[in-house]
Amino acid sequence: MKAHTLSILVENRAGVLSRVTGLFSRRGFNIESLAVGTCEEEGMSRVTIVCIGDDAQIEQVMKQLNKLVEVIKVSDITENYHVERELALIKVAADPGSSRAEVMQIADIFRANVIDVSSKTITLEVTGPTQKIDALSNLLAQYGVKELIRTGKIAILRGTKTVISTK
């Protein structure tokens, strides 16, 4: 059992996302993370899903996804050389004078941006692989994380290779 990153090209139409996610729940697969948006092809969207399973399970879920009429292509890019990123917004408790400087120092180390400040909080924006965001949020936990929002992972192949429609 390990985490697989699936890059799924779909028709950009109403209801497609529920077809995709419905299939995961119906067949007993958990979605660890999900990111959706339009892409380079007009009328298509790209869905990036991280799910955990053994090879046979992942093969089955990919085959089932491929059966959806509005799914154009499914690729498991886990084993390919790829770059992955996630974006998180983290609102941390930071009363003036107390830990505020420490929080900003930690943010600096992680190359996180301060995007909002209030009298009692600092809000950070950070991008990176999932583990980096986990590490930052764990570090910030001691100061009090008021709110944490993650986009879900997106991933792209390195080099000239692409995950595009070939059907």
Binding site: E59, Q60, K63, N66, V69, K167
Partner: protein, 558 residues
């Protein structure tokens, strides 16, 4: 300019629809108004579920897409069991549902239900049409999806205002739509075909395990050619009965939970399993690890997701069964006849035939055998679900594909009677029998009204044991004979039939079975046969749930 309703009816006619099965209601009024003088025949059922099953029965018997129509909300929801039945057995069906006007969508309007949401997991695809301009394209795509690749049900949800809106959109858009996410593979991969051929030739004990895909692909002739060319024995699933004649020397009958002993032994002993359009269902395999444990497995299926889903496969071949079998036949040059293996199977067949008591009582198996002796190869047998279905599968000798109509995957009680209506509508000249139990028939008994109204001459043979027999059998065998809510009070089915203006006869004695069936055949309209069978007759042999398929119980003379 044409209304959406007119575009729909014209589209259905253009797609070759011969009959609609449906039930009117508020939001489909525009469609029914258009239908009124369209020339497209419509059968008014008594419950929308029956419309779906009738369309399904029509599709199974004829091989063409069945079409049903229902109104929004409760009408659409009543189709659900029928759609799920078709989905599980890969039957081409187009279901058309009315929907509340687009302006009210999502408002919990009167008779609104999210039927595209509800049927998402039980359709091959579905459409909610919000613009009348999309309708010609949607109809073309719906029929194309229903009948190509792995067939299945497709639903079109039509809001009322889309049916009344007018459009001058081009309706003649051909029959092969371009769907960039849908490209079924029909031809088998050459290298895999070659591997399959060499595996078959080098094997000593091959068995063909044929499933519903053989029927769907109309590949019965190719299946028989393959079997006869090398003398390979063939066992069929419930769905594939008739793919090879029941009395063919190479036929082993059905395998699995209520399969023949010799089919299950052959599977257990074989060294090469050729699975053709079958999906290794749990009712077939029993304990999967013990299913064909010594075999190299060749799996031919049009749906890649079926390959390796339940059983590890050595040689996967994705493709249309008919095409792939032709490819294999073209390459198969061997004089092998597997004499030793066939001799062994003959011994099993002689030693372990299907058997039931011959004690002068009225046994259901005898009813089926008598029926078999009185009908011809083209006549159509439909069944409900449960013991009636299994006895028919075991004791009726199907000679041709598409003469057997039954709900396999979903196991839908109440399927048979409405499905027999669809089969009879597809083939008015053939005799159609619905083999029912007293439980199943009461799930859609209101369709007596339909067959009476249109004088659809289906014969309903009720194997009446005043039990929900299959559940009772499990209670007898595995729940210490505690018959919890499985006993049904007696019903006078002849009187029920009479109330609908239908004739019927009750049969209590084996000596009257033959004449009663003959009378029903001679009768021109629908007819009810109420056979009062042995109450606690069991279906044997039987593989207990979770056991290996060679670990059967029953089936031996007392």
């Amino acid at each position: 300019m044409k209304t959406g309703a007119k575009i729909l009816i014209e589209g259905l006619l253009k797609q070759g629809t011969k009959t609609l099965f449906g039930y009117p209601g508020g939001v489909v009024l525009p469609i029914y108004d258009e239908l009124f003088d369209s020339g497209l025949p419509h059968i008014l059922v008594r419950h929308e579920q029956a419309a779906a099953h009738a369309a399904d029965g029509y599709a199974r018997a004829s091989g063409n897409v069945g079409v049903c129509l229902a109104t929004s909300g409760p009408g659409a929801c009543n189709l659900v069991t029928g759609i799920a039945t078709a989905y599980m057995d890969s039957i081409p069906l187009v279901a058309i549902t009315g929907q509340v006007p687009t302006s009210l969508l999502g408002n919990d309007a009167f008779q609104e239900s999210d039927i595209t949401g509800i049927t998402l997991p039980i359709t091959k695809h579905n459409f909610l049409v919000k613009d009348v301009k999309d309708l010609p394209k949607v109809i073309t795509e719906a029929f194309f999806l229903a009948k190509t690749g792995r067939p299945g049900p497709v639903l079109i949800d039509l809001p009322k205002d889309v049916c009344t809106a007018e459009s001058d959109v081009e309706t003649d858009i051909g029959s092969e739509p371009v769907l960039r996410g849908y490209k079924p593979t029909y031809k088998g991969h050459t290298r895999q075909i070659e591997r399959a051929v060499s595996t078959i030739i080098s094997s000593e004990r091959p068995v063909i395990y044929a499933g519903g895909g053989v029927i769907a692909s109309n590949a019965s002739a190719e299946l028989i050619s393959l079997a006869e060319k090398l003398m390979i024995p063939v066992t069929t699933t419930l769905m594939a009965l008739g793919a090879i004649p029941g009395d063919h020397p190479l036929n082993l009958g059905m395998l699995g939970m209520h399969g023949t002993e010799y089919a299950n032994y052959a599977i257990t002993e074989c060294d090469c399993l050729i699975a053709i359009g079958a999906r290794f269902d749990d009712r077939v395999t029993g304990k999967v690890d013990a299913f064909a444990p010594h075999a190299s497995v060749i799996h031919i299926d049009i749906d890649p997701a079926e390959i390796g889903k339940n059983k590890k496969v050595d040689i996967p071949i994705v493709g249309d069964v008919k095409t792939v079998l032709t490819q294999i036949l073209d390459r198969l040059n061997s004089e092998k006849k597997y004499e030793n293996w066939n001799a062994r199977i003959r011994q099993w067949k002689e030693k372990h035939p299907l058997i039931y008591d011959n004690d002068g009582k009225l046994h259901p198996q005898f009813v089926i055998q008598t029926l078999n002796s009185l009908l011809s190869a083209d006549d159509i047998i439909v069944s409900e679900v449960g013991q009636n279905q299994m006895w028919t599968a075991q004791y009726y000798c199907f000679k041709k594909p598409r003469t057997w109509v039954t709900s396999g995957g979903l196991g839908t009680m109440g399927y048979g009677f409405p499905a027999s209506v669809g089969a009879q509508v597809a083939f008015p000249g053939r005799r159609v029998f619905d083999i029912a139990g007293d439980g199943s028939i009461q799930m859609n008994i209101q369709e007596l009204g339909t067959v009476s109204q249109y004088n659809i001459p289906v014969k309903i043979a009720i194997l009446n044991n005043r039990f929900l027999g299959m559940v009772r059998q499990w209670q007898e065998l595995f729940y210490n004979r505690r018959y919890s809510y499985t006993e049904l009070p007696p019903v006078d089915f002849v009187k029920v039939a009479n109330a609908y203006g239908i004739e019927g006869i009750r049969v209590d004695d084996p000596s009257c079975v033959k004449q009663a069936i003959k009378d029903s055949i001679a009768h021109e309209g629908p007819f009810v046969l109420d056979f009062r069978i042995e109450r606690e007759e069991n279906v044997f042999p039987m593989v207990p749930a979770g056991a290996a398929i060679n670990e059967m119980i029953g089936g031996r003379p007392k």
